[in-house]
Symmetry: C2
Subunit: 410 residues, 2 copies
């Protein structure tokens, strides 16, 4: 059956790959560390009896052929990359969970009727190219080739070269989309990265939908000037405008929906001198909701606020939409199956939205997806202190296994 | 007499030293370019008959002994360094004006009764160490030795090494303060760096006082978190707090005095990720007024606003006071002399405050100072487009010459 000791050993072994000085995880997408982690997993997959291949995007697919309906496919998985100084559960837990199902079946002699695939998606986090979900985007055929050909990573290395360093190439990645018509569903176990399960006192929860991010870049252009010699009423201060805008962005989600969020995470000031009135400010706004209508309404309001504020401060406003991914609802029939699986463990099934993006969000554009969240200590993620108890991890894998079996038998 | 062609040629020759690709001036304090410009000036000073020496701070002093009261000293000068891509008038005009007075006297046979000194102060602008006025601070004995020993320049080079590269050393600089007890006054011609003279249609103006800057570093510390998965009501967003604060800082000077200004020029966000709630923001606030009371009141209000805003957003506020220089009023008796000089040119004498800092601000802590401002095209400075007409420059030098002669004869 599901083996807690094996899970603990495997989480521990993976945590050694790319361990940072803060005891965090340093496995950026397409790095040697990500590749090393994939290689270790490939070994465990083969030992479990899976037929393993890698696609042109570096996604690893371990296949167990179905006994009866081998043309029908059920998938599970996640990613192995991390943010630069991240935690050890975000990603690896989902991959290990998907594999543990196979090891458990092997031991119990269970033979699934449909084909089962364990998937490791490449470069989910987005720390390398400020976009992320690279592997799941490629597999589902949503890659923007023009954009990716032009992109450099955070160290200034072109996309093409980064791929080559990882033993891949652009054409292979652009060609790696697959046919999903025979895939019934994709399931992902993931840490919650929030505090709701902790507050409810529950080990696992069922994701009701995945919020779709809209990433806007917003610029304010005023006029640089001497901080000492320019009277207050003769300024076009880009940062005064930007500051007022940031304050308003913070207040607006509550007006639109209870689940909507908006975050100004990145902000740069030019020329950024102590005694120089800022001539230009460039920032990003991350806007999300689980409902497309309210997410798009919030994005419209944010743009409207920027234009109004720009006018008020006599500054010019510009926009650049970096990302707009539709939110992914989880189908009623999938929720029913996961609820049944969770109830079989005597756990109260609770639905909660995912504000964070996941590989399941991209896969959800092609096939039904389901996600099981695991309680996160203090809601912390993307940080070495990220932690979920072994007991909670094991319960989530039991829930995943039961979910997959119910899907196999459907 | 005052020779416009000579002024034009000398301004042109100096503009070649450190010329930037944008046709701006690139003569950072203590750079080879600043030294080269000082060397050229030293040659011209000697040719004009001055006895030239350099002090331990790299300040150049050209002396013309008085015919009668040689123990009484009258000084004039400015600086030759520039901001990284600055203009060709900010600094050089004041130095050339002080020297032109000597050349004019030489030609007319005028012998000053008191000793006259032409001074070139080192590293006025502050682009190198984010402080500035290094030469005038050293000469007036206001150097904070502990702070300067610890400081690195913008390239990360320690103060000590920067000085050594310029042929100077720390002990020499710390020892370079001089006795000002026999100095009657210091005069500085400088471009206005504002639009008031242009609006009044006047070539020159008389500085009524020099605003004293207070440079505060203000920090907001909240909690970084996931931009997608953290509900709006569970955030400690340092940038939301900082943005609201910036907006309030912008509104506050008008409540305190008509001449007060406050500028948030520098702002950094940590960790500055698109999808990460900012955990920390550090910014600078430049606060100035020509009256000490209102300047200090504004600084107090800014601090109070930071504390209030920090509390409102559940973030921690910290302060670090980098600079607080007292404003320097110009004495009534000095204003009278400059007014008489300006009127002798048939120019309406208009008083205006200086919001910008100048070497005269440091010297003004020891002896009476006077400043003559020259009309700036569009008020632009610290930019290659900085410009004052040759006619305006020449008029300012006539005003300076007459001012010095009146002081000599007093
Ligand atoms: N799950 C997760 O942290 N995804 C990173 C991408 C995002 O949601 O901003
Ligand atoms: N005059 C001038 O630009 N000084 C630079 C220092 C300052 O006033 O901020």
């Amino acid at each position: 059956g599901v083996n807690g000791v094996r899970i603990a050993k495997r989480l521990g072994a993976l945590s050694e790959i790319g361990l940072t000085p803060d005891s965090g995880s340093g496995r950026m997408g397409f790095s040697n560390e990500e590749t090393a982690a994939k290689n270790v997993l490939t070994g465990w997959m083969k030992a479990a009896g899976l037929d393993v291949r890698e696609d042109g995007a570096g996604n690893v697919i371990g296949k167990l052929e179905g006994s009866d309906m081998k043309d029908r496919v059920v998938m599970a998985g996640s990613h192995l990359d991390s943010v630069p100084n991240g935690g050890h559960f975000d990603g690896p837990l989902g991959v290990l969970a998907a594999l543990e199902v196979v090891d458990a079946w092997k031991e119990s002699g269970y033979k699934p009727r449909k084909t089962y695939e364990v998937i490791i998606f490449s470069d989910e986090e987005g720390s390398r190219f400020k976009s992320g979900l690279t592997g799941s985007t490629a597999m589902t055929g949503h890659t923007n080739q023009e954009k990716m050909r032009a992109v450099n990573d955070v160290f200034g290395t072109p996309f093409k070269e980064v791929l080559e360093q990882a033993g891949l190439n652009e054409e292979g990645l652009f060609d790696s989309s697959r046919d999903f018509s025979n895939v019934e569903a994709f399931f992902e176990v993931h840490i919650e990265q929030g505090k709701r399960l902790e507050r409810e006192g529950l080990p696992v929860g069922i994701v009701s939908g995945i919020a779709g991010p809209c990433w806007l870049q917003v610029g304010f252009k005023g006029k640089a000037g001497h901080a000492g010699n320019t009277p207050m009423d003769d300024r076009q201060d880009a940062l005064a405008a930007a500051g007022d805008f940031v304050r308003q962005v913070y207040r607006t989600p509550a007006e639109v929906s209870a689940s909507a969020v908006a975050t100004v995470g990145q902000l740069q000031v030019y020329p950024n001198g102590i005694n120089v009135i800022p001539g230009e400010v460039v920032m990003t706004v991350d806007i999300r909701d689980i409902h497309k209508e309210t997410r798009d309404e919030l994005a419209d309001r944010v743009k409207e606020l920027a234009l109004q504020t720009g006018e008020q401060y006599n500054t010019e406003v510009s926009f650049d939409e970096k990302v707009r991914i539709p939110p992914v609802p989880v189908q009623e029939s999938v929720l029913k199956i996961i609820e049944e699986a969770v109830e079989s463990l005597d756990i109260r099934p609770v639905l909660l939205p995912s504000g964070a993006g996941h590989d399941a969000m991209m896969v959800g554009r092609c096939v039904p997806v389901g996600m099981i969240f695991v309680r996160s200590l203090d809601g912390v993620s993307h940080h070495p202190a990220e932690w979920s108890s072994l007991n909670d991890c094991v319960l989530s894998i039991h829930a995943l296994k039961r979910t997959i079996e119910l899907t196999m038998e459907r």
